[in-house]
């Protein structure tokens, strides 16, 4: 019998039940998709590294004899070492005017590769000794539409050669392939070329020698210790300092990306889940409270309280089960989609989907418990009332005067408004909770939306305030400053500013970090250093300008003296003051006045490259000239980087954000719709009375709309405040060594979130308005059955 009632109740309440279930589903889905995607990717990366033997330590030297490998292998804790030749080259590719950069990397002609193994997608590796065959990384091939048999030209050690693609491969070393001077992977402009070791040795005069080595360590080996010993061995051969995975570019970027994802999944889904749990609890308890007469009736005709309680618990369980089921399916589906999207971007050779039973359990338990707690509380309350009390319409509630009644005479407001005001204030806790509920829905919207603001701000700062050059040229070696005259002479070049980068290790007390110091001219106008207020800094005559993150890592403040260990050229250890701390959202940088840097290095005025601006009309000529300049080994074009940056961001953060925005929308609408519906049910009798008295449908709706409007009006500013905190939590969680998102919430984001809340309210109001229109006056005025 009661089960039949259950069915009828579901039919009666389906819209509200569905709205509650969807809010719950949104919470559940966020947790499953956010955390699930992160875990799958993290697991995939680990497996990839392991199966393809990604090295632990990397080092570059100018030129070291092959015999050194034995000494390296003897360092305690080293389980494998692999030496190779790595050189940059300008590429001339038919489908693009500007030169691209290639990284030529040797593979042994005989024997096995032990470390950083490649996964061959198609074709084969080059024939031993062939100086014409290359295997390239997949993204590069895809970006140019290369297939086996395609060719392109490379300037290797000053000589232009035509290279024949014989294979396409992937490597754990280049999941994120970022070229020199680039900020973001750009597979069109940066490619990896695996070539025969003998051939490369011959081209670069490195027979019997190597310029790059990677090591694999035994478990529990002290990495710092090995790095120190390796540095000692390599120093005489022009070693620039060994580094671990954390400074390996691809790993660092990938790690930052995954950490960002992890941060989003650590902060956002729990907020979503808790918000939805709160809303479900609130809504269900009000929904059940409306059933008090029915509960009284059931009790009066002799049903046992336990039986009645079970009846409502079943109702709640059906709603929860639906919510959890929808959320789990949607979360799993969206999570897989997101994982595939990321995996596709990273080009993992395989993909491991983590099954996450714990997530389903946690999400189901939290939402289910919140729903039950809300429902049971209300059922219990109704059950404790004597049936007669429960069945009779609730005694008129006590109201109080507001102290503004005299204004009625002035016709400032109508009695309908007074009704709305008094009713809202009569139930401060309930009104407060509704306001909180609506504001939370606005807050999650802000949390979902604001990342777009932060990214735009970041883009503006990086590309339009800080690095405003059109392109950055890299020289294939340190060059005397004289070369700048030649750069200035290149066709179309308007301004050219030199820079120099030097590999160093900076120590402050026991804290140290391998970094690069970039020397620039103090009055640099293209590539500027910005202070914490984003004002351009004139590089001081002495001392270092640390970016904020570096200062944090080294716990260094302005005025501190730090040790700079130069890892190139003549080397040496210098004590240098920190003279400024600057802002930076990407990477770890340290800046210095170019002259001061050269002086500190005790070398002549040398430069490693130049930032240039040029006349766009002469781009073709410029590119052509650059390709013919043997000293230039690479060019990074800023507009291309920006485009790539946006594209990358669009693929990753925007995806996630879009999903979160969708879920926030569901929450916002679900909550507001339910609030309005419950408000209507609670007051059906009052509204029917008004209709009987001759008030029009519009006038009656006005009462409800005034109340809803009042609640929404209060909820919007509160939601903005809560949203601000949510966003702050996300930013804090997101921060890592490579990326820092500026904490920026534009007014437009508050406006959009408010607008969506208002729109949800308007749609809910319209639906409720239709219900008021259909209000059955006669039925509502009888004692309710």
């Amino acid at each position: 019998m009661l089960d039949r009632k259950l069915l009828r109740d579901m039919k009666r309440l389906w819209a509200q039940a569905l709205a509650i279930a969807l809010v719950m589903a949104a919470g559940v889905a966020t947790l499953i998709l956010g955390v699930g995607a992160y875990r799958s990717l993290d697991e995939t990366r680990s497996a990839y590294y392991e199966r393809y033997n990604f090295a632990d330590i990397f080092a570059t030297v100018k030129r070291a004899p092959e015999g050194l490998k034995q000494r390296i292998l003897e360092i305690p804790g080293v389980s494998a070492a692999e030496t190779r030749i790595v050189k940059f080259a300008l590429l001339d590719i038919e489908d693009m005017a500007e030169p691209a950069t290639g990284m030529a990397m040797s593979i042994p002609d005989y024997g096995q590769v032990h470390l950083n193994r490649r996964y061959l997608r198609s074709g084969r590796f080059p024939e031993p000794g062939s100086a014409r065959e290359v295997t390239v990384n997949e993204n590069f091939a895809l970006a140019h539409g290369f297939a086996i048999g395609s060719t392109f030209s490379a300037i290797l050690n000053g000589n232009k050669r035509t290279l024949n693609i014989v294979g396409i491969a992937l490597s754990p070393e280049f999941i994120y392939a970022v070229g020199p001077g680039g900020l973001i992977p750009d597979p069109r402009r940066f490619g990896i070329m695996w070539m025969s070791e003998n051939a490369l040795a011959a081209i670069f005069d490195l027979e019997g020698a190597f310029n790059s080595v990677s090591l694999k360590l035994l478990r529990k080996t002290d990495q710092a210790d090995v790095i120190r010993q390796l540095d000692d061995i390599l120093e005489p051969y022009g070693g620039t300092g060994a580094y671990g995975r954390e400074d390996q570019l691809s790993h660092a970027f990938l790690d930052a990306e995954l950490k960002g994802l992890a941060a989003l999944s650590r902060v956002t889904p729990p907020i979503f889940l808790l918000v939805s749990a709160f809303l479900i609890n609130m809504t269900l308890s009000r929904l059940i409270a409306l059933e008090r007469e029915q509960i009284g009736l059931l009790k009066a005709i002799g049903y046992r309280p336990l039986t009645i309680g079970m009846h409502y618990i079943k109702l709640i369980l059906i709603i929860s089960a639906a919510g959890i089921l929808i959320g789990s399916v949607a979360g799993t589906w969206l999570g897989q989609g997101l994982t595939i999207l990321y995996a596709d971007f990273f080009r993992f050779p395989f993909l491991i989907f983590r099954r996450n039973p714990d997530l389903y359990v946690i999400a189901a338990a939290i939402s289910g418990a919140a729903a039950l707690a809300g429902g049971v509380r209300a059922v219990y309350h109704a059950l404790t009332l004597p049936p007669a009390v429960a069945m009779s319409p609730p005694a008129p509630a006590q109201y109080a005067h507001l102290g503004i009644e005299r204004l009625a005479a002035l016709k400032v407001y109508s009695h309908l408004t007074l009704m709305a005001l008094r009713h809202t204030l009569r139930w401060p806790v309930r009104s407060g909770l509704t306001i909180l509920g609506i504001s939370l829905s606005g807050a999650v919207l802000i949390m979902a939306l604001f990342t777009l603001d932060s990214i735009e701000f970041m883009i503006d700062t990086i590309f339009f305030q800080s690095d405003r050059q059109d392109a950055t040229l890299n020289f294939n070696d340190e060059r005397p400053i004289r070369i700048m005259q030649a750069v200035q002479q290149l066709p179309g070049v308007l301004t050219a500013e030199p820079y120099r980068t030097v590999a160093v290790r900076i120590r402050n007390g026991h804290l140290s970090r391998k970094l690069a110091i970039t020397g620039k001219r103090p009055d640099t106008d293209l590539s500027r250093v910005l202070d914490l207020d984003l004002q351009p800094v004139t590089l001081p005559e002495t001392g270092l300008v640390l970016t904020q993150k570096v200062a944090q890592i080294l716990k260094a403040r302005r005025g501190d003296l730090v040790w700079v260990e130069v890892l190139e050229g003549r080397r040496g250890l210098k004590q240098v003051p920190v003279t400024e701390v600057s802002q930076s959202y990407l990477g770890l940088s340290v800046f210095m006045n170019l002259d001061a840097l050269n002086k500190m290095l005790e070398e002549g005025p040398l430069v490693s490259g130049a930032h240039i601006s040029y006349d766009k009309a002469r781009t073709g000529a410029l590119y052509k000239a650059i390709k013919e300049t043997p000293e230039i080994s690479g060019i990074a074009i800023q507009s291309a980087s920006l485009g790539k940056f946006r594209e990358t961001v669009a693929r990753t953060i925007h995806m996630m954000t879009a999903v979160y925005i969708g879920l926030s929308l569901i929450i916002a609408f679900g909550v507001i719709y339910n609030s309005a519906r419950i408000q209507l049910s609670e007051r059906a009798r009052e509204f029917a009375s008004l209709r009987v008295l001759g008030f029009t449908r519009g006038e009656v709706s006005q009462v409800l709309l005034t109340e809803l409007g009042l609640l929404v009006a209060l909820a919007i500013p509160l939601g903005s405040v809560i949203g601000y905190w949510f966003a702050w939590a996300v930013i804090r969680g997101f921060e890592n060594d490579l990326y820092r998102m500026p904490f920026i919430i534009e007014g437009g984001t508050y406006a959009t979130a408010s607008f969506i809340v208002l729109a949800s309210a308007a749609i809910s109001a319209a639906i409720v308005r239709r219900r008021i229109d259909r209000l059955d006056m006669v039925r509502a005025l009888k004692t309710r059955e």
Binding site: A395, L418, A688, R697
Partner: protein, 247 residues
Amino acid sequence: MAATGKQTRSRGSRESMFKVEGLTKVYHTGELDIHALSGVDLTLYEGELAVLLGPSGSGKSTLLNILGGLDTATSGQAWFRGDEITALSERELTQFRRNHVGFVFQFYNLIPSLSARENVALVTEISTSPMAPDEALGLVGLDHRLDHFPAQLSGGEQQRVAIARAIAKRPEVLLCDEPTGALDSKTGVRVLEALTSVNEELGTTTAIITHNAAIKDIAHRVFYFSDGRITKTDVNKRRVTPDKVHW
């Protein structure tokens, strides 16, 4: 008291306020059709106080609701003065209620968030020539509890506020559905006194539904209901004042 022609016109001028012909109302509930009204004819005259008497379920409320524009008939016709109520649209019915009809129900249906005075003012705010809320409350003997909220008033007092609210806009008709149904005898009498005094002083045509036969003696005429029909109409030769009524 404002002079309105209505009260000066003598009762029995035979000017009809409501006229009903062959009114039927059928509720379709699943397989069974319930004939709540099966062909009712009746005329209510201006200034008259009528009692509609009959057992529960005999169709009294249904008739009153149609007359008051709360419900629509299945067939037959009803006129308010010259206007056919049964032909009015939803919007016109709302205006009809707003301008011409006062209702009093068994459960007072006051707005709990408004004080006694405000409950009355709620209506006077939207009517064209209302009396002051205080005056209306005075008519029902409640001038001392103006600022009390419904929760602070007894059942009888709430019902009198409801009457004051119904008459404050000076409606032509006052329709009361079991106004004393939830009240004890003593309180009920006070409510009936309020109704008769309104009828006498304002000349408001009043219809009172009851299943309490004792009340019939206060009416000019009594209509007996049974199974959706009026089976008998009595004219009271000698009316009694409410204080003589007991139940």
